[in-house]
Subunit: 316 residues, 3 copies
C-alpha cells in the first residue's frame, strides 16, 4: 500500500482484515515497526474518534504522532495554481505539502467538503494536493468523498459480529438537522461491495448517492422492505447529492426505532458516530444490546493500525 | 484508587504523600509503569500548570499522553438525557465517554462551572457524565466543586515546608476583579481536614463557602486575627457561594501585604496560581523568600504522578 | 550554549554546522541524549515548519515535546512590572516562566512583534521575560527581532549547496501584501556576517533594516546590480523599519523572476517560507531546479537538533 485515501487503495480486503484482527488481539506486538517514524496528523476540521484512534494506532506501533490544527495553528493555505498570492492565503499547498513531507514519514489529513461547491469537493482538492506534492504516503482522515479508515473499521466490525455466511447489511438514511457530507456512506458502499454481504441501501426520494459509488447496488425507498431480515442496520444521514448539499427532508419516520428494528433478523445497529440521538436513532435502540456502535468505534484503532502497518511495510 | 475526582477518593493521605515524596526524589524510577497505557487529557477550559504537569507526570511513568481541547477540536457535546438532538450539540456524552474509554486507559477532564447555574454546577455534570459512562478511571483536572490534584500538591508542599508538628494553616479570601470558582478552596478545605494542621478560614461577609465543605472548620471574618501566629497563608479568591457566582467585594484591605504577613509566625505564602499581583497579594510578598508558590506549582507534577501511579496499580 | 535566542548565542558557527551535518547524516544516533528531558514549545503565533521541525528534532533526541498555544489554551499573560492586575491579564510572566521551568528542561517560544510599538518589540518583551524568569535554557522560535533557528538552517543550506569557496549571497527585499516582521532578515544578516560569504543586501528606498544589524554590510537599492554573479538569492519581504511596520511599496518589479535570476551565476533561490507565489517570486523560479526552499526547510530539523544538542550538553 502506497497511500490510503480511498477504499480503492485496499489491495486485498481479507488480508487487511486478517491483519487488523491480529493487531486487535495483540496491539503492542510490534513496538519497533514505527521506530523513528513520524505520523503527521493535519486537521482542517473537528475530530474525536479519528484524532484519538489514529494517534493511538501510531503510538502502538512505536511511531511519533504530531498533531496540527492547520486552520488555527498554521498558515492559511492556497490551493489554486498560478495565482498571484496577494490575498489572505499565506502559503501554497505546493510548499506546505513538500515541507511536511520533510518532517513526517506519513501524512494524514482531515478535510471536509464545502457542500456548496460540488466540483471543488469532488476534486478532493486538499487531499489531492497533498497526494500530488507530498513525498510520503498520505492517509485520508475523511475527505470530501470518502472516509476509508471508517470503512475498514466498519468491515472489521461486521466480520466480527456476523452470525451467517452472507449477512444482509442495510445502509439507511436517517434524518438530521444539519447538512452532512457523503464521505462515510460513499466509503461504506464501496466497502460493502468488496465484502461478502448482501447489501441494500435505503433512502427517501432525492437522496440518491453519487451513482459512481452505488452502481449495481440494490436501492429502495421503502425502508421497511429494506429492513426485512437484515442482520446489520447501518444508519447515517447525508445531504442530497443531486441537489448538492441541500436538506430535502427531516422526516422522522426514517428514524431508526425499536419498531423498525423488529422488522430485522435481530440486527445489530451500527453508526460511525457522532450520532444525533432521537433523530438518527432512538435512545432505546442505541442503548440496546443490539447496538454495536462503541465496539465499532473501538475498531477504529485497529483499522488505523493495520493501514499504518501496511504503509510502513511498503516504505516511504 | 479507582478514580480521582475529589479529595474523598484519597484512601490514605499519608500513604499518598509518602508516594509523592518518593516520586519527587526519583521521578524516572518507574518508566515501565505506564507502558502501553494512554492518558487522555480533555480540556473544556484554559490550563497551564495542570496541562503541563499532568502530561509530564504521565511521560515520567512511560505513559502516552494525548491532549484534546474538546471545545475547539472536537464536537459540541450534549449532556441531557432523553433529548431530541436537533440543535447545536453533535454528540452525546454517553457515546463520547464510552468512545474515549476505548482509546484511553485513564481519562482526565477539566470542566469549569458556569457560576450561574448552581444546581448544574453542583451536579458536576461533565465529570459525572464521564464517571457514569466511561469504562476507565477518571481524573478531575478541576471540576465545578473540586480541584483535587491541586489539593494533593498543596498538602505535599505544606508537609515539606512545615517546621512544627501542628502548623497553623490559614485559607484567606483575597480580592479579584472577576468571579472565580470554588473548586480550589473547597478541595483545600477538605484536604486540610485530612492533614495534621490547625486550620482556619477567613473571608469577608457573604463569602462563606458551601458548608458541606466547611462544617467543623474555624471561620473568622477578622483576617488579622486569623493571620496571628500562622505558619502558612494560603490566599485565594472565590465568588460568593450563597449569592451564587456574584462578586460582593473587591476590598483591597484583604490583599495579602507585608504588613499582614508580619502578623504571622514568619509564614510561608501559598497560592495555586495563576495569581493576580497586587490584587490577591502584593509584589513584595510574592517576590519574598517566604513565597513558596513556585515550589507548590512544581509539586503538581509529583501529585499527579502519585495519583496516576495509584490508578495504574489498581487497574483499568 | 546556555540559551539560543539570537545568532549571537552561537559560539562557533563552524562547530555548530559540523554538528548539524553529522546529525543530518544520522539523525537517530543519540536517542538517549534527551532521555527524561522535556522541551516545552510555547506558541503565541502560527507556525508550521518551526512547530513540526522542532518537535521532530526533540523526538529524534529522545526528548518529550509538549506543545502549547498560549493564547488559546493558557491564561492571558501580563508582562508589565509592578502593575495592579485588575484587568484582563490573568497571570504574570514572572510566575508563568518560573512555573514552566519546573516542568520543562528547555523552553522554546514564538512571539511575533506588534509592528506598531517599536520600543516594545525591540525590548523583545516576551522572550526577554522568559530569559529573566525561567530557570532553564530558552530558545527563540522567532521573536520580534530575530529568528535564529531559521538562520542556522539557512547557513547549513548555503554550506551544502555552495560550489565556490566564497559564494556571493544576496538578500533581496521582495513585495508582499501585508506588513511583515524583521526577524528573519535580521538573523540572516547576522549569520551571513559570521559565514564565509560575500554578502549583499538589496531593497527599495525606505526599507533599510536596523543598522545595528547591517553595519558594515554592502547595501544597494539596485537589485540588478546586486544579482550580478550571485550564487544565492535569498528573497524576503519586510516592512519598513524606519517608518516602523509600514508598507511603503508593493512594487512588483522587485519580484524575483526568471529574468532576474538570469543575471546571477546560476544562483540557488532561497526563502524561509511561507512564501507568497508570484509576489515574492514567480512560479517559474520557485518551481525550477534552482529553488532549494524545500531542502532549506528540511534543514530546520537538523538546525534545531544541533541547537538542542548543544543546550542539553551544557544545560540543566
Amino acid at each position: 500500500m502506497k497511500k490510503f485515501t480511498t477504499v480503492d487503495d485496499i489491495q486485498d480486503l481479507d488480508d487487511l482484515l486478517t491483519l487488523a484482527k491480529k493487531i486487535k488481539a495483540a496491539p503492542f506486538a510490534h513496538p519497533k515497526k514505527g521506530k523513528n517514524k513520524t505520523l503527521g496528523l493535519l486537521f482542517f476540521n473537528p475530530s474525536l474518534r479519528t484524532r484519538l484512534s489514529t494517534q493511538k494506532a501510531a503510538l502502538n506501533l512505536g511511531m511519533n504522532a504530531i498533531v496540527m490544527n492547520l486552520n488555527t495553528e498554521g498558515w492559511t493555505l492556497e490551493f489554486e495554481e498560478g495565482i498571484v498570492m496577494d490575498g489572505n492565503s499565506v502559503e501554497h499547498i505546493k510548499e506546505a505539502a513538500q515541507v511536511v513531507s520533510q518532517y513526517c514519514d506519513i501524512i494524514a489529513i482531515r478535510s471536509f467538503p464545502t457542500l456548496t461547491d460540488k466540483q471543488k469537493d469532488e476534486e478532493e482538492h486538499v487531499i489531492s494536493a497533498f497526494l500530488k506534492y507530498a513525498a510520503v504516503p498520505v492517509i485520508s482522515l475523511e475527505g470530501s468523498s470518502e472516509h476509508p479508515l471508517q470503512a475498514v473499521a466498519d468491515a472489521l466490525t461486521i466480520a466480527e459480529y456476523k452470525t451467517v455466511q452472507l449477512p444482509k447489511v442495510v445502509l439507511t438514511w436517517a434524518p438530521h438537522p444539519k447538512a452532512l457530507p457523503h464521505a462515510v456512506p460513499n466509503s461504506f458502499v464501496k466497502m460493502m461491495q468488496l465484502a461478502n454481504v448482501d447489501f441494500v441501501i435505503t433512502h427517501p426520494e432525492g437522496y440518491a448517492l453519487n451513482t459512481e459509488f452505488t452502481n449495481g447496488v440494490t436501492i429502495t425507498q421503502d425502508q421497511d422492505e429494506a429492513f426485512a431480515n437484515a442482520d446489520f442496520i447501518y444508519a447515517k444521514n447525508w445531504s442530497s447529492y443531486n441537489d448538492y448539499g441541500k436538506i430535502l427532508s427531516k422526516d422522522t419516520s426514517w428514524t431508526v426505532t425499536t419498531e423498525k428494528m423488529a422488522l430485522t433478523n435481530n440486527a445489530k445497529f451500527m453508526h460511525c458516530l457522532p450520532v444525533r440521538r432521537n433523530m438518527i436513532v432512538t435512545d432505546e435502540v442505541l442503548d440496546s444490546d443490539n447496538s454495536i456502535v462503541i465496539a465499532q468505534a473501538n475498531n477504529r484503532t485497529f483499522a488505523a493500525q493495520a493501514v499504518l502497518t501496511k504503509l510502513l511495510d511498503n516504505g516511504k
